[in-house]
């Protein structure tokens, strides 16, 4: 032998995204991989950046509401709500009771709709196509309900400072009732189809484990944090609206199929949250006053006093906060949106070391990010 020719393996860099079926939008991940094993992940964001915060500063307080729709476009109602909460706290606006109930109704419905997308696309990420269509089917019904209240199916702008844009139309409550009754049973079907599927469990249990302290350190919130076993929910910790009047349970990850904080736990938290949202909606439908104002009297040139607030609310993805500074004029001095997806995504490089590409896709899907909210 003159010289042994060495077979050298080489790490390669792969661009996953911004055009990739499972990066949920325009996320770009730079992967360094050794064969199938991922040794480094660098998320690159900003492809959807519109500088919404600058928009917020350049318009009046009301003019920001439609932009919040475009942040988390899968849960526009929750974004509307978070922003309006912050403005109302800044300007000491009291919201009428019926409006508060309506807000909870549409907010929770939107949470279900958003979780349905998370459920469906998670199936897609793992190669199961059918759950996606089942989920979209149900989501369509929720969008029908939204269309009835505000005419839009994606970017609602239904909330107003001090209430909502319009009262519920006739027959809406009945249809909502019907939907919730139907949907509760549907969740069991989802579970049969995907949740307890053997292959699904094998693909998600013990994958992408985020320990609780890591989740807190990286600022994860919402289902990601709860999946790690932390019972944290802004609706309970710092209640807003009429949530204190309602009784509901906060599901957390318990490591049923693997260890606490794995993909299955995060997924399951969302499924159980949908059930809880159904319960909340039922309670609201029962206790909501028949008639009443849905909008407090707020002047068109709304000028909150000087000051600043940071208001948190529980969006479907986690803690959605708005930091508002008022300088006494009718335009906010500073609008900052703290988006849950941004913090949820930044944990990805920390947990994806040594994963296979297929697991990376599973983990990314379980974080349930929305790029519109990350890039703003």
């Amino acid at each position: 032998m003159t010289s042994s020719r060495e077979f050298r393996s080489q790490e390669i860099y792969v661009n996953m995204g911004p055009q990739h079926p499972s990066t949920h939008g325009v996320l770009r991940l730079m992967l360094r991989t050794d064969g199938e094993i991922v040794s480094d992940v660098a998320p690159m964001i900003g492809y959807l950046h519109r500088c919404a915060e600058k928009y917020g500063e350049s318009g009046t307080y009301q003019m920001m509401i439609p932009y919040t729709d475009r942040m988390d476009y899968l849960a526009g109602m929750n974004c509307n709500w978070a922003y309006c909460l912050a403005v109302e706290k800044l300007g000491n606006v009291v919201v009428p009771e019926r409006a508060e109930y309506i807000r909870i109704l549409v907010g929770e419905l939107n949470r279900i709709a958003s979780h349905l997308i998370a459920f469906g696309t998670y199936g897609l990420d793992l190669g199961a196509f059918t759950p996606f269509f089942y989920a979209l089917d149900e989501r369509e019904k929720i969008l029908d309900l939204f269309e009835m209240v505000c005419g839009a199916r994606l970017t609602y702008s239904y909330f107003r400072i001090g209430g909502v844009a319009a009262d519920l139309p006739e027959g809406w409550v009945k249809r909502c009732h019907e939907f919730i009754d139907f949907f509760r049973k549907r969740i069991d079907e989802f579970n049969e189809l995907l949740t307890y599927n053997y292959i699904f469990i094998r693909r998600t249990a013990n994958i992408g484990v985020i320990p609780a302290n890591m989740a807190v350190d990286y600022g994860c919130t919402g289902p990601v944090l709860r999946g790690s076993g932390m019972r944290r929910d802004t609706r309970v910790d710092e209640p807003y609206g009429l949530y204190p009047r309602l009784r509901f349970h906060i599901p957390i990850g318990m490591g049923e199929k693997g260890s606490v904080g794995d993909c299955w736990d995060r997924y399951m938290v969302r499924i159980r949250e949908m059930e809880q949202s159904c319960d909340i909606i039922k309670q609201v439908l029962k206790s909501m006053p028949e008639k009443g104002d849905v909008r407090a009297k707020v002047p068109k040139a709304f000028k909150p006093p000087k000051g600043e607030v940071y208001v948190r609310s529980e969006s479907s993805k986690g803690e959605l906060g708005f930091y508002l500074i008022s300088d006494g004029t009718d335009r906010p001095y500073r609008v900052k949106a703290r988006s849950p997806s941004l913090s949820n995504l930044c944990v990805l490089p920390a947990i994806s070391d040594g994963m296979m590409i297929a697991d990376l896709v599973a983990t990314l899907g379980s974080l349930d990010i929305v790029m519109g909210e990350i890039d703003r």
């Binding site: 950046h49 500063e57 800044l90 807190v216 350190d217 990286y218 006093p305 930091y323 008022s326 703290r338």
Partner: protein, 159 residues
């Protein structure tokens, strides 16, 4: 703990590094600390057993022309259930302050964002690059005196 107690605790530990407690008539009270002491204060807030601010909820930059840029830290304790707003002012000419990304990991991206949109430099940050805008972008859009570009790499925009 209430904001007054928090302020006192910080004052006791850091003395005149903790500048003032602002309690406006409307809105949230906040504690302003010296920019250079931000990292130690943050670490203390996180580690002290009576504070335990384990969550950095939000990190924002604010522009106060003509003199200052501010960094606002919204802290929350998931065990003690109290919150604190920390502020640090840096001069607009040389906006520099220590990073807190080693205190809370989540600050990493938030600080990159503040750098990207305000041009605040966080010294000691491991990877302080633009995060939302392209790397070759000129200027810091969220500053009040930002002039919108009419062209970027040959793409014209009319406004």
């Amino acid at each position: 703990m209430q904001i007054q107690e928090l302020f006192e605790a910080l004052k006791k530990k850091f003395g005149d590094q903790v500048l003032e407690l602002a309690t406006p008539a409307s809105g949230e009270p906040s504690v302003t600390v010296s920019a250079q002491a931000v990292q130690e204060v943050a670490l203390f807030c996180r580690e002290d057993s009576s504070l335990e601010f384990d969550q950095l909820m939000c990190l924002s930059g604010v522009d106060y022309p003509p003199e200052h840029l501010a960094v606002v830290y919204h802290l929350h304790s998931s065990t003690k259930h109290h919150r604190l707003v920390l502020k640090a002012m840096v001069p607009r000419q040389e906006p520099k302050l220590p990073t807190v990304s080693r205190v809370w990991r989540t600050a990493n991206w938030h600080e990159r964002e503040a750098y990207d949109l305000f041009g605040i430099v966080f010294t000691g940050h491991a990877n302080l690059r633009r995060i939302l805008l392209p790397q070759d972008w000129v200027g810091y859009p969220l500053r009040k005196d930002y002039v919108f570009p009419t062209e970027y790499r040959g793409i014209k925009c009319h406004d």
